[in-house]
Amino acid sequence: MDINLALLLVLTPFLGFLINVFFGKSLGKTVSGAIGTVAVAISFIVTLVLFNQITSTGKAIEVTLFDWIQISNLKINLGFLLDQLSVLWLLFVTGIGSLIHLYSISYMHDDENMHKFFAYLNLFVFFMITLVIGSNLLVLFIGWEGVGLCSYLLIGFWHKNQDYNDAAKKAFIMNRIGDLGLLIGMFIIGSMFSTLDYATLKTAIAGAANLDVSLLSLAALCLFIGACGKSAQIPLYTWLPDAMAGPTPVSALIHAATMVTAGIFMVTRLNFVFDLATDVQTVIAVIGAITSLVAATIGLVQNDIKKVLAYSTVSQLGLMFLALGFRAYEVAVFHVITHAFFKACLFLGSGSVIHGLHGEQDMRNMGGLRKAMPITFWTMLISSLAISGVPFFSGFFSKDEILLTAFHHSIPLYVVGSVASIMTAFYMFRLMFLTFFKEFRGTEEQKHHLHESGSLITIPLIILAILATFGGLISLPGNSWLNEYLAPLFTKVAGEEHHLGPTEYTLMGVAVLGGLLGILIAYIKYFKQDNVPESDENITGVAKVLYNKYYVDELYDAVFVRPVNSLSKIFRDYVETGLSALVFGLGKVANELSFQGKKLQTGSIGLYLFAFVLGLCAIVSYIFLAQ
């Protein structure tokens, strides 16, 4: 029963992928989209069943399909582990996944390769589910690579634009760097405990006498590098903003709600490893905090609506890592969930705006869309309030808990996180004011065509906005369903429970005031004073540095890309020339030898016969004379 459920869960999206990839073109756009959506929806229903089962029994479901690798004492199963964490993850992967598939039916309807789009999306969901429910690190790795592949395919979906292809390649290569870290981490763990299975690993670590903590820390650090690549943390974050080249539903599903949270999932999954590596946890917290601040500052001045959201995603992921660094895994998971709701909603909303403006992404050419697109406006407003941490929206609870945790461990990191949150509130409302308020700044023709998107687009938006509003209820401070639900997974440190006291309420007040301050600044600057960001060439000073993303891309270009390019140029011009000269030389020698040799073949049969007899005589005389 369980094995059938698990297979149904994994294989339905894969079946959807197969159908769409082989028959999608002939099935027509709507049917192909419907198949893709239904496939994911079935997975969602299965997830609900599993969720129900797990909440009622409280026991994890383990499914082993077959022994996969068996070398001496290393044994790896192809198995699934459906426990509290993975099912929780599945809920929003398949749930938001279904909504985004539904949205895409309308959004991608004008694209000639719509079946391909749905095929890739289904494949992505398949790999994401594999990643989440794998019972060991190797199965996780299959999913990990698979989602990277799908991300690459979907970023470069409009492959006729070379910039998009470059963005896709950048994402793929950046992820490869992280994946190498993940692999090395896996190798170290495998060599230490000769298992990659989570459950076995946990007992092995718990029962190990004189554990080599420094080696384990190295493994944890390598795993964290993997997480950095996938979840876009410094120094491997630059691919995510560029990944916005893909269609907007892709940005919402892969680059905001699900794939980029894989790093957080992995760290949470291996919490027993990271718990022992305290130095690495400090690194995680610091990197998370710095990432959240750096990305937020860049987000302040971006003018592309999706770029703002992309940097916001990087920043929020940084906050999640900040929580992970302080062993507040359930807080990070909480923020992953609420973030998935409001960020998916924001991306889909921006997609609706872009759709309504026929591909316009620059906020300087928007404005006044509030009247034309009321549903998009209201849903995005709700999500913006949620991400800004305005009380009683979901983001308020999750972000507040992260900051609270940070406050208890490290005041400087708390300050960094808070500043990032204020900036988040500012740039989100900068986006809202520039996009939806005042007068429309685009062309007359665009203005003429302004319209609210169809119901396939607005329904997912509304559902996500509702979730973004009430998502916080799953983990209210002091009375958290989520913490209890996830409790079996983590080893609690004594004295870590926070009780709501005056300090906590003060901090909450500070956070709310900070968020409101950010909104207020945005209001004054972009509504009261009616500012519109300058055109590119007029940006100066600090804003220019921020607008150009601290020149990090240029730095990477100078430090890594160009040296590698010149190195390959050397190889091409000298080493390859030398090698090919050698190989061609050998070929020429053989050619010349055979050219001379063929002159022996005169075609005169008499001569052949003579040679034959002569040879025979030689052999016979040799045999007799040798004796």
Binding site: G603, I605, Y608, L609
Partner: protein
């Protein structure tokens, strides 16, 4: 059988066989007509067959004679194919002199 062999002597059979074989070789080397060359090859083949049979009797062992049967059967097949090839060559180039067969030139 044994009497005849004793009367004639095994060495005479060997001489005969060697003579036949050399006749065959010289035929192959000196004659230009393909059919003659072919016949010479057959003579060489039969020289060997003769030796087989002689030794078979000498050793009182039937294996050699069995072998000759095989050899003759193969030779018959070979003749059939070889003559067919010659006919075909004659039809194509109007001659069966081996001096005219230069198509094997490299």
């Amino acid at each position: 059988m044994g009497n005849i062999l004793n009367q004639i002597g095994i060495e005479n059979y060997i001489f005969l066989s060697v003579v036949l074989f050399c006749i065959g070789i010289f035929g192959v080397l000196y004659r230009r007509n393909s059919i003659i060359v072919f016949m010479s090859i057959e003579i060489m083949l039969n020289a060997v067959n003769l030796l087989f049979v002689a030794f078979s009797t000498y050793h009182q062992d039937a294996q050699g004679q069995v072998f000759v049967f095989f050899s003759m059967a193969v030779a018959a097949a070979e003749v059939a194919v070889g003559l067919a090839i010659l006919v075909s060559i004659f039809r194509n180039i109007g001659s069966i002199s081996i001096d005219n067969l230069k198509n094997l030139k490299g």
